[in-house]
């Protein structure tokens, strides 16, 4: 009752079934998290429609044992799903194990580098995208004071922070950057606590920040609310949040750091469709538009040239963006 009603599938422009079944295992939150699970789901839905895959999804439970994740992947394999895509680094170990046990099945994992002959890693240069929105924040800040709200202090999110800081300092070395994480692992509620996101962002805004970037998943909604209430800008993450966030706060979203998981998922499924499933790591960075920034609302149009210049420098390797 929870996935086949998604968009795609029955749409008119969709192609006939290609006879292949793809399974996707989500991280906690699953479809509809308005965040990275959704982004992966978007890629899946597109593949369903444009390539004719039959799709099935399942999501993780909070605090489940490792074996449950293994089970989930194995059950997808048992039900003849091939390939199987795991969304999120929590699946790192289980993908390694299940892939080894099922050498005939192709696996993909988002955000993790686990190795295997039949595994492809969909990795992202989040720091590069964050660099660009960091630069945008610095360029737009009138108070030379900006903020970063991280959901949970894990290396992945620290990568966002590092890129953001580097980008902002590239524009203005003296800029003040306030940084805050909502929770520490294993407490992952920082990704799902808009109230905390709001309080943190309000603090930054009260403290002079006028642009706040969040990498806090579901808590980001609170950051947008704070920005709206405090006459500040917010920067979204993962998808173009000026489109997906609630209408009442879309105006304050300066731009979003795009992490195009959907693109990655779709390209992977294209290789499967072509009969030559990708293996090994693929890094989706600026050069392949795996990451980037959004322009919805036209609020960064005036600085687009500068941002694109930075982008080119990063692609050319002139700027090396730190990851931590």
């Amino acid at each position: 009752n929870n996935d086949d009603d998604s968009a795609g599938g029955s749409g008119e422009d969709c192609v006939e079934s290609n006879g292949m079944k793809v399974g996707m295992a989500f991280d906690v939150g699953g479809r509809g998290d308005q965040s990275f699970n959704d982004s992966a789901a978007a890629g899946l839905d597109r593949a369903e429609c444009e390539l004719g895959f039959e799709i099935q999804t399942a999501e993780a439970q909070d605090g489940e044992p490792e074996a449950a994740r293994e089970d989930r992947l194995q059950q997808l394999v048992d039900a003849d799903f091939n390939p199987v895509i795991a969304v999120g680094f929590a699946y790192s170990e289980s993908v390694g194990k299940v892939a080894a046990a099922n050498p005939d099945v192709n696996f993909a994992i988002v955000d993790d580098g686990v190795e295997g002959d039949n595994i492809t890693n969909l990795l992202f240069a989040e720091e590069q995208g964050s660099f660009l929105v960091g630069a945008a924040a610095a360029l737009k800040s009138e108070s030379a004071n900006i903020g970063f709200v991280g959901g949970v202090e894990v290396p992945l999110i620290q990568k966002f922070e590092a890129g953001f800081v580097a980008g902002a300092e590239a524009v203005n070395p003296d800029i003040e950057i306030q940084s805050r994480y909502l929770t520490q692992p294993p407490d992952f509620s920082g990704f799902a606590d808009p109230a905390a996101g709001r309080t943190a962002a309000e603090g930054m805004i009260d403290n002079g920040a006028d642009v706040v970037y969040h990498a806090a998943g579901g808590s980001g909604g609170g950051v947008f609310e704070a920005a709206a209430a405090g006459d500040a800008f917010a920067i979204g993450v993962d998808s173009d949040q000026a489109l997906t966030a609630d209408e009442s706060v879309q105006d304050v979203i300066l731009t979003s750091m795009l992490k195009n998981i959907d693109v990655a998922v779709f390209s992977f499924l294209e290789t499967v469709n072509d009969g030559e499933p990708a293996t090994g790591p693929t890094v989706y960075d600026l050069s392949v538009d795996g990451v980037g920034y959004s322009t919805t609302g036209g609020r960064v149009d005036d600085i687009a040239d500068q941002l694109d210049e930075y982008k080119q420098q990063i692609i050319d390797g002139e700027i090396e963006v730190p990851t931590s």
Binding site: E59, A68, E70, D71, Q74, Q75, L76, D112, N121, V154
Partner: protein, 370 residues
């Protein structure tokens, strides 16, 4: 009397059966109301698990069991150690660091890490014990606070102790060296995975628990304190000491909760280390009436429900959260059923005592009259 004992045994078994049945009914009603397939869900849950699933059930039950025993030690004394959750996390972290550093070779290293885990778990629980004994702070509240503090503390220490693992987004301690891991063994034929070797330790813990509680002087003191603190004091039991010691013991066993995972599967403590086991332990201890065998059955039941519900979404398109409802309902209905049965039993016994005495009285009167 044997007849009565049989009757009582029957009553004792009736309670959990009654409870399971009503949980089954209630869950079915929820499914019906929500429009999900009742037969589909129960069909899946009651279908025989594969070998892999059976192994998973035993493994998950091992972990639940230790957690249940840790909680039960406190329960036997009317101590509510809500803090098993924090205790096992702090302890698992400590053990992972010790084992990862490999101060000693091979299994000595394992042993040292296990002792570290028990010691750290005991200390963490001991804080609540001290506060209760010296300051009168309810252990319910202090252990809740200590759970939250454990989260922050472990996060802090984990970042200090974490090793660089390029390409991974998981922060984790150093891996336990190969030679210090506890090998699993295959129980179910054709199973691709293995049962934790630690299951042996869990069984030993269960036996020790039973012997200590039911057969030793210490256990008697502990149960007496749980039954009536005032009577315990009058009998010469130092109840403050008992509270403190049983908190330490509970914490030490809590320290073991994460060990099957650490030495049998994860080999390090990282941000994806399983959480929430302490709370499951509370439900399981209640379900098992704090009895070592009961706890084992409860742990197996919970593990079974978890395992069997996992594919619900893939196969039946029903959210596996439905079994949480089942599990919670089982806890509640079991307790209610036990309470009802207990009252019935007490009444039964009172009636018997009265009848026996009445009979005795009338016979003695008959003897006296002639």
């Amino acid at each position: 009397m044997t007849d009565n004992r049989l009757k009582r045994l029957g009553l004792g078994l009736a309670a959990p059966l009654l409870a399971l049945l009503s949980a089954f009914l209630i869950t079915s009603l929820v499914l019906l109301a929500a429009g999900d397939s009742v037969t589909g869900v129960w069909g899946q849950i009651l279908s025989p698990p594969q070998a892999r699933g059976l192994t998973n059930i035993v493994n998950a039950a091992t972990v639940y069991y230790l957690s249940g025993v840790a909680v039960a030690i406190g329960f036997r004394m009317n101590l509510f150690n809500i803090g098993v959750d924090g205790q096992y996390r702090v302890a698992s972290f400590a053990a992972a660091v010790v084992a990862g550093e490999a101060f000693l070779p091979g299994y000595l290293n394992t042993l040292l890490a296990l002792m570290a885990a028990m010691a750290v778990g005991a200390v963490w629980a001991g804080i609540a014990g001290i506060l209760r004994v010296t300051r009168g702070v309810s252990e319910v509240i202090s252990t809740i606070m200590l759970n939250a503090i454990a989260t922050a503390l472990v996060a802090y220490l984990l970042r200090k102790a974490a090793v660089d693992n390029p390409g991974s987004n998981i922060t984790a301690t150093k891996d336990v060296p190969e030679g210090s891991r506890i090998p699993g063994f295959s129980v179910f034929p054709d199973s691709p995975n293995q049962v934790y070797g630690f299951v042996v330790v869990a069984v030993l813990v269960g036996i020790t628990y039973w012997v200590v509680i039911n057969r030793t002087r210490f256990g008697f003191d502990l149960r007496a304190t749980g039954l009536s603190q005032s009577a315990a004091v009058a009998s010469g039991i130092d109840t403050k000491r008992m509270i403190f010691v049983s908190m330490l013991l509970s914490g030490a066993v809590a320290g073991l909760v994460g060990m099957p995972i650490l030495f049998g599967q994860a080999f390090n403590y990282g941000s994806t280390f399983q959480s929430g086991l302490g709370f499951a332990g509370i439900a399981i201890a209640l379900l098992g009436r704090n009895h070592p065998v009961g706890i084992a059955l409860g742990a197996l039941l919970f593990a079974y429900l978890d395992e069997q519900s996992n594919p619900l979404q893939i196969l039946q398109n029903v959210s596996p959260d439905i079994v949480r409802i089942t599990q919670g309902t089982i806890v509640l209905t079991v307790v209610i059923a036990y309470e009802v049965v207990r009252r019935y039993g007490v009444r039964l016994e009172q009636r018997q005592v009265a009848l026996a005495l009445e009979a005795e009285r009338s016979t003695s009167r008959e003897e006296a009259s002639p």
